[in-house]
Symmetry: D2
Subunit: 330 residues, 4 copies
């Protein structure tokens, strides 16, 4: 489904890309989704190998990503991969190894929040330094509801919280050193779902991130973030909805879901990817970020079981991921 949305984005919204080929486990679905002039490939391998394909977008399910990413790297082709990049630490390390051996970034992971205007402005304020060092970050993630049955008790940690962890690492320019999970009284709205959840991320530099996750809060999709610095506070604003005064008070609507909230971020994510891919490389969230997300998610699942503080042990950061990718100015 998100694949079809990206096809629309690349063909109807954004400048600079052309869809040359499509594939899917269900080839009928691939044929239906393929825009005019696009070839339907039998397998991802065939698509990645095609001379007509310069760059690849992966929207398959998580366990399939490892092989597809390694094929793209082997072919030297830039690749955008929806999260999760991979599903195990071992797979993440293989992707990193292959990409560092190749010597240039090729992988971009779909953490779209980094392309959202609100988060970008927030980061500029933090990085600007006028408020001093960031010491605490309060990250709030609220879904109106989640699909009953399909959304299980581990998902607040390994599907939802990875966004908060990634944005925390990015906003604070830091890594997660350890994770704790605390479980408040359960919401009566979620049947057997473990919800809400509080996660404490202990950052390497000492800052603490407390993440409040509620996935069944009825009223809307509400994403909040507030960074407490030594000399001031910086926070995400209300969404720019019409200010209505009526019998419900003076009020602004809250987005219904992530599509409404992050639609511009998805566009911007691909806009920047197209530019980078056109230059044979990638930008934004990297394989390193995908690796970090996997480790934090694993640690969170251990922490919910143990009730203890679980360490996140990362390999030394390869030089490839230490510098921003050089993208030639347009």
């Amino acid at each position: 489904m998100i694949g079809q949305d990206h096809i629309r984005r690349l063909t109807k919204v954004l400048y600079g890309a052309e869809i040359k080929g499509v594939t899917d486990i269900d080839l009928d679905r691939a044929r239906a989704a393929a825009p005019e002039g696009a070839e339907v490939f039998d397998t991802p391998k065939a698509l990645i190998a095609s001379d007509h394909v310069q760059a690849v977008v992966i929207c398959s399910w998580g366990p399939a990503h490892e092989e597809q990413l390694l094929d793209c790297i082997a072919a030297g082709k830039p690749v955008f991969c929806e999260k999760p990049m991979v599903t195990t630490e071992a797979a993440a390390l293989k992707v990193i190894e292959a990409e560092t051996a190749f010597g240039r970034r090729l992988v971009q992971v779909g953490f779209m929040r980094r392309f959202d205007g609100d988060y970008r402005r927030l980061k500029r304020v933090i990085d600007g330094g006028s408020l001093g060092a960031p010491l605490m970050y309060h990250s709030v993630h609220r879904n109106a509801s989640v699909p009953e049955g399909l959304y299980t008790s581990d998902m607040p940690l390994n599907d939802t919280m990875v966004h908060d962890a990634d944005i925390s690492r990015w906003l604070l320019s830091d890594e997660v050193a350890a994770v704790e999970v605390r479980l408040p009284r359960r919401s009566g709205r979620g049947n057997d779902l473990r919800d809400p959840t509080i996660v404490l991320l202990h950052m390497t530099g000492g800052a603490i991130v407390d993440v409040e996750i509620s996935v069944n809060v009825a009223y809307g999709y509400d994403i909040r973030g507030e960074v407490s610095c030594e000399m001031g506070i910086a926070a995400l604003p209300n969404r720019p909805a019409t200010v209505i005064s009526d019998q419900h008070g003076i009020r602004q609507a809250i987005p219904e879901d992530w599509r409404e909230r992050f639609i511009d971020a998805y566009d911007q994510e691909f806009r920047e990817w197209i530019v980078a891919a056109g230059q044979g490389t990638a930008t934004g969230p990297s394989a390193w970020d995908g690796y970090a997300a996997t480790l934090v998610s694993d640690a969170a699942l251990r922490a919910v079981a143990s009730g203890e503080r679980e360490a996140v042990a990362m390999i030394e950061k390869p030089a490839l991921y230490s510098e921003p990718t050089a993208i030639a100015a347009e």
Copy 2:
């Protein structure tokens, strides 16, 4: 009704006053309202004359105010008078003449907004001067509803707008030189009522105040004010209601009516009056302000009939009203 509320305020809320006597056209009502130990007088004249009475609060209907005020001034007793101070220009001039002849302020008029914390902070910002001179003031007055039948089409101008005119004069430290009235499309909610109304107050110093009056706007009692200065803007804030996020959005309740909105201002108004009256004088809105309100109200009624700009011609301001009253520090 407001008289009973003031009795409660003076006996149960505020320090420093004692109710020694009460009167009313309906003496049974006076007897019912009188707190223990208070004498019920047959007439206002008798009450004002009593040696036990040091200061007077007038809550009778407008046309009765002139005589009662003149009696108080003749007796040299401080008097708090609910608005309108009087109902004709001639009456206002008589009160001013009597008070200036007496030589000390005795009259305080019930423009309670001047005692409201939000307005006082707004005035401090304007007077502070950091935003430059005030050039425009946008004053918004919205009632949820008005009593059908009792509230007539002149009342937005001579009952409601006088608050906006008084607060404009006070905020801008200026007088009204002329008035224009414009009538937008009528609200379908008000039967035959002329509503809403736009009033332009041309101030002597050149600033223009545009007043938006809606008396039947259903959703609440919403008082707004925004001063545009040469280098910035200062405005009344939202009321301090709980911020609720629910299916109606992120929102704050709006007061239901003027009692809820200005309850603290009424208390503060009397708190300061008690101190001034204890020193034999008055503070806050003066007979001069009551006179100005009468003239502006008259001009607005002429303007709605003529469609033209109607001048407000005031006498020269007596020295008595030029200086703030000296109230000894507590």
Copy 3:
């Protein structure tokens, strides 16, 4: 300058257009601005006539627009024209006559606010009808500063206010019947400039729009709008800037200028134009809207001279402009 910005937009940002030719009074400037592969034409006439050109963007100065628009219409080519569409009523009528004779909309005028997300959401709330009929609209237009010497005292009315007039007509789905202008005390920041300005737009349906224009207010580019309806209020929100708490209070930055405020609206304006032009027609603000802007601007200039209410007399609206243009869904 805005022409170069549109070239960037059409070549680097948006999907669906290709720049085939460029011209300018200064041909050297045209050559410098032309993207690779674009022909530089000696005259607008030659460009418009070229078989390689399917649609035209006019960014020349106002007096040149009439002839260029008529040429485009004669050639049956969709044309985007920056405001002012034309500079006289007679010219506006000629454009309308030509386009109605042609029988299909070709002209789109550059009122970009109609493409801004905040205004669009505001209009949806009004049109939704839950607040009842709109009765008053308070439109505030503040510039941090204007170029000294270049920006003259008529420009708040014929350059700045046309945006407020257009957005008022659009938000209220109504026409301007008459205009009044009131001049508050002048700001000391503007030398001899007539600033600020209050404009009252009397709409045909009875609603009154009061426009507050300040073009030298130092602190930023601040665009506000509040619609008062029978049962509630709808207003533009604060811009989505980071919420910072520091020694200046709890605060959100205000845009510096119109580029920052409306950058997304410009993109969206052209995005929709490209789609419409690709179907041989136009969308959004029409020649009729350009005509209305000219009349309102003329009436405002008469009103500032006369001090009176100046009527806006429009011809009967041709059927061509009564219906939204049919644009095939993508």
Copy 4:
């Protein structure tokens, strides 16, 4: 110092109390502070015993409170005691034992937040139930600065956090079952001070409170609170400061210190105490609440040392504290 402020409050602001006697360790200071007509007692014991004294206000330092409270209870006199009620669990239990033996509430503890309008409205929303059960509470406590040298590293937990703990118990109508403390990277502004601090309060009913304490944040005194319920969120609003638009953005001032923030709450606290004391009893925060504060504070200090979850073990709640005190309506 706070004693002098309470004398001012009782003599100049509030109705219903008269200061009959004063005492202090430094009798010269007592004489200077005593209002006209008030007796200066040599000892607290003498003051409490005096027939002229109906009710007592204790503003001495913490360790002196136990004896003075027990004397008041023995004399059957209502007593207002500034926090901390006492400094040890044993002392708290003695006070509770004496008061329950007496059989009527006499002790009111100075947790003034419960009398603040913002908190009261917040509690009404939670108790109203429309948002469902409260699951998490995010309580933020920020001081601009603390007195260097005098404010030590334990004080965020035993002096500052007790307010958050008390208001959490009150808002959620629950008790604290256990406490955890986490220490983020230290602020560079506080020399050797342990600041900021994160405290997790595990409530008996399962809700989790996360308290963010920063005592040196430079920009102001900023108290925030947000309750996450099953179906929505309720939060304290911005303070009602003038909305200023200038070069710093659109902004509202933040209070400088607790005096500015809670001045109305202190008045209201005493207003209600006077009524209750006049009826021979007490209202609001009780000896039970003082006992709970002592236990939570002790647990927090253990938790910062152990790094572990420290339990709060309370005795069974005496019936005396289970019901709201019956105060006759005025």
